[in-house]
Symmetry: C2
Subunit: 247 residues, 2 copies
DNA sequence: ACAAAAGTGTTAATTTTACACCCATGC
DNA sequence: GCATGGGTGTAAAATTAACACTTTTGT
């Protein structure tokens, strides 16, 4: 909805409009940054330096910049998530999938004040994960297996957010080629299978998975790529997702 | 996260903490209130009385109550959605499914000020729909076919929100028994089929749908109910969703 | 030679899809 | 009677699932 679509009446109204000073919540973005390490689905936790929940592990996140609300309006929610992602990890955000997974606004979720947080999942290729460096005000950052993280006493309502992210990821896995964002540009059948196994936390018959995979090739979702992947035994062919124009 | 889980350090910190006066966005909830009328999926639109977008059709919605942010913290996001739902429709909210479908916070989505809106879908049984009465500050309210609505010049970014709601509903339909919320307590096979047809906007073979339906009976998702449904021709048996304890 | 992981094949069970047809009711 | 929509059956095709087997490599 751009300003140019407003009517004359709207513009006249706005020139005299003074936004009422309602009480407003703070708005933040929280990130569930995920990748696959050692065939396990892991997320990035930061250890808090400041109260509340000092020394507790938490999801990275921060305030959405809003400008002064009139002449400058600040950033979109996705932009805020991208900024936080790059602040916390030092990684370029253009190769990392960010998807909104929900809004969390329980009145007492932050003891300091009323905060509504928009949660995003970030899927990082494992090849990028080693380059992550602690940033911002975090004392330490650490990759933690999602299974373990959900049993930890994370700060705020972050266990709930992490759980929602896992739900979201599992849903996406069946319905789309989301695994693409958790793999190098080319990958073997077994590598894709292990991503599925890590996300769904099940083991999958290699033979049967292969058949599903070959069907994806029939459907032109995936195509063979040049080269082979060296493994502990027989080398495997590598494949890539067919580029559909969209980033 | 309740207050009792805070450490002593946290409590000491909080007693001296003065929430910084960051600029904050207004936070609202917007509702995509859906039901099935004449075998069509329809949503409730209200005609705006005030600028901006005066006379334009819009989704019902309103501000989340936040209290003063300290001693009183106001309502949860879902509570805000429930309150708006009952204000706008006059219906009791306890029989209406409300699910969060996303947060929308583009900087210029509201020309008056920076607003972040949490969108909820509300599924209303068609038996309740006739009792809806215009409430609040809306000039008129009207059920509109979702197909048509998405071609209308709705106010703000409401087309985007409506589209997200449809996506959400279609996803849920395959994965859960969400159709329950759009049907009377008991229903015929054909009635459930027509709900599916309306939501997916396809026609479904009655014989094949029946077989899927019977499988749901095998799985104890659905059971036969007493009575029959009078139709234009042969009367149909009626069924109900098995009560699984959860509302 | 052997272990390990890639890759292939077989079979039964289940599910999907298209379509033909019978049955009970209101008009 | 006959149109309408409920209800039933059949058969091909596609998918899933369990599992045995062969091939190619590194050590």
């Amino acid at each position: 909805m751009t300003r140019s679509q407003l009517t004359h009446e709207d513009k006249a109204f706005l020139s005299t409009y003074d936004p009422a000073t309602y009480e407003r919540p703070a708005v933040t973005v929280d990130l569930v940054i995920l990748t696959i390490l050692d065939d396990r689905l892991v997320l990035l936790l930061v250890q808090r330096n400041e109260p509340p929940y000092r020394k507790k592990w938490a999801l990275p996140g921060g305030f959405v910049r809003v400008g002064n609300g009139k002449s400058s309006r600040g950033e979109d929610l996705l932009e805020a998530a991208q900024r936080e992602l790059s602040e916390e990890t030092g990684l370029p955000t253009d190769d990392i999938l960010l998807a909104q997974i929900g809004a969390f606004g329980a009145p007492m979720r932050d003891p300091r004040m009323r905060v509504v947080s928009i949660a995003y999942a970030a899927l990082v290729r494992p090849t990028l994960a080693p380059f992550i460096q602690a940033g911002g005000d975090a004392a330490r950052t650490e990759w933690t297996a999602l299974n373990d993280a959900m049993k930890m006493p994370l700060a705020f309502d972050h266990p709930e957010i992490a759980s929602k992210a896992l739900q979201w990821l599992r849903d996406q896995l069946v319905r789309s080629s989301i695994a693409r964002s958790l793999l190098p540009p080319t990958f073997s059948i077994a590598e894709l299978r292990r991503v599925h196994e890590a996300i769904l936390d099940v083991s999958i018959d290699p033979g049967n998975f292969r058949k599903r995979f070959l069907r994806m090739i029939d459907d032109s979702v995936i195509e063979q790529a040049p080269g082979r992947r060296i493994t502990a035994s027989k080398p495997a062919s590598v494949y890539r997702f067919v580029d559909t124009g969209r980033s």
